[in-house]
Symmetry: C2
């Protein structure tokens, strides 16, 4: 197209594709271009605003490392990450929620009933439930990859005081599908605010807080992997998670329990608990592979 | 919103804005979020595709320097840069076109009629025209900031063989609004293809070529600044400029001239030209300040 105009630009862009372009790539790029162009036309974007937008990306590029991904964070606070989770979440099983940047690939495997709290201060919680299929049948051999913050709000990779695998653990279910472990109650925390995403949150009057949560990745042969989180129902940020991760079926009551009610067997701390604790019951439903 | 879903995510996002958010920022972020979310919903974007998109941004971040801005290039090949130019271009004056990354702020000022070709091989062109307002009145005191590639397709900042200001020049019009200079015919060239944008072009079957052009920034007191380009009408990439910069009123015929027809005065090369050359007539219309 020799005379590119506001009206024919999108079609001109689409006309540039090679005939043997992968159809899915073409579909994605076509939708991306239509929305990007409509965005600029609708807002009558100025050069200064265009450059401010690019500044966010340039700054994100400067601050991003393998340990700190500002582009993922940008996607998170814009709701894109959660939307992709929801689009790809099975309708039948437990809802998925954001993976976040703090997962570690080689978490140590522990026997069921292990205690993750160790010497850390904070409210003891007993977390338990069943992994089952959409018909309610228990799934044995399912792995639960669990991680969370320490009581200071930091994940081990953020905190030189913690061991590398502190509050990271891998469990495998027996044939009954049950899982249980003890840990410390995780806390609410803020996403990193020292980069361009922090500036954007600030400029739009948004706080950087996430409600406290336990992360889960649950996998079992023949089922779709599930990446999810569990939230306590009394967290002050539950209705305004800055990364949009909360779903109804992921909100659990942390039920207060007397010390005397701690199970007398089946847990590493059985017989050793002399303070009140909370119990979190979270059952997990996996969908069959497509 | 506690139960964020695909359907309420965009409204949840909009509900997070602080009451005192700058209205224009809110307008831009609202449009951006609506289009970003619609894009993901329409394409049913998978996690792998989302991550491939982020990879483009991460790679762009790694390759971007003050001298090489891959984010601008991405905006260019997606048509966004040209669209912003068109949105902000005056309807009455000469069309604007992309600034590109090779402008230098402090180009040397030259008297009208200067020759920029120097010792370079390549076809001599005489470029001339009038700067006027939308009623056709000449504008004196207008500055023309001109830059272009050398015959090897490189701008001075890309080419260690060239002087820093090679093929960069600043001219100021007299009261008659006329300008003229000689130079070498610029050549078609490719945008950089060694980064993620090059990969994207390749994956979508697009070439990386731009038609040859002369860059202009024209400024005058009381008028809107004009950033534009002039293209020869016989360039093979005129109908498929990879950054969408071509407009009808920026395409000029390079008119072949006999050596004997070279003006006998008013140009640094007057009386010194013994080979045929081409003449490019390009008049510039500036719009009054808004």
């Amino acid at each position: 197209m020799r005379n590119v105009t506001q009206d024919n630009l999108t079609d001109t862009f689409l006309g540039y594709f090679g005939d043997d372009t992968n159809p899915r790539l073409r579909e994605i790029m076509e939708s991306l271009a239509r929305h990007l162009h409509d965005f600029a036309r609708e807002t009558k974007l100025t050069h200064a605003e265009w450059n401010q937008g690019l500044d966010i990306l340039r700054e994100a590029g400067r601050i991003t490392t393998p340990q700190r991904d500002e582009f993922v964070l940008l996607s998170d606070v814009l709701g894109l990450s959660s939307l992709v989770d929801m689009i790809n979440s099975s309708e039948a099983g437990t809802n998925s929620s954001v993976l976040g940047p703090f997962h570690i690939s080689n978490a140590p495997a522990f026997p069921m009933g292990t205690d993750l709290r160790g010497d850390y201060e904070g409210e003891l919680i007993l977390v338990q439930g069943k992994v089952c299929d959409t018909d309610g049948n228990p799934i044995g051999g399912a792995t639960l990859d669990i991680w969370q913050t320490a009581p200071n709000g930091l994940y081990s990779s953020q905190d030189p005081e913690q061991d590398e695998y502190s509050f990271h653990a891998l469990f495998t279910t027996e044939a009954n599908g049950l899982y249980r472990f003890t840990t410390v109650r995780p806390v609410s925390y803020t996403v990193p605010t020292d980069g361009p995403v922090g500036k954007l949150l600030n400029a739009t009057g948004r706080h950087p807080w996430r409600p406290s949560h336990l992360h889960y990745i649950v996998k079992a042969e023949g089922f779709q992997p599930l990446v999810t989180e569990v939230f306590p129902d009394d967290d002050p940020y539950l209705d305004q998670d800055t990364v949009f991760g909360v779903r109804d079926d992921l909100v659990m009551t942390y039920k207060p329990q007397k010390a005397a009610d701690f199970p007398s067997e089946g847990l590493a701390l059985s017989g050793k608990v002399d303070a009140d604790f909370s119990r979190v019951d979270f059952d997990i439903i996996l969908s069959s592979e497509k």
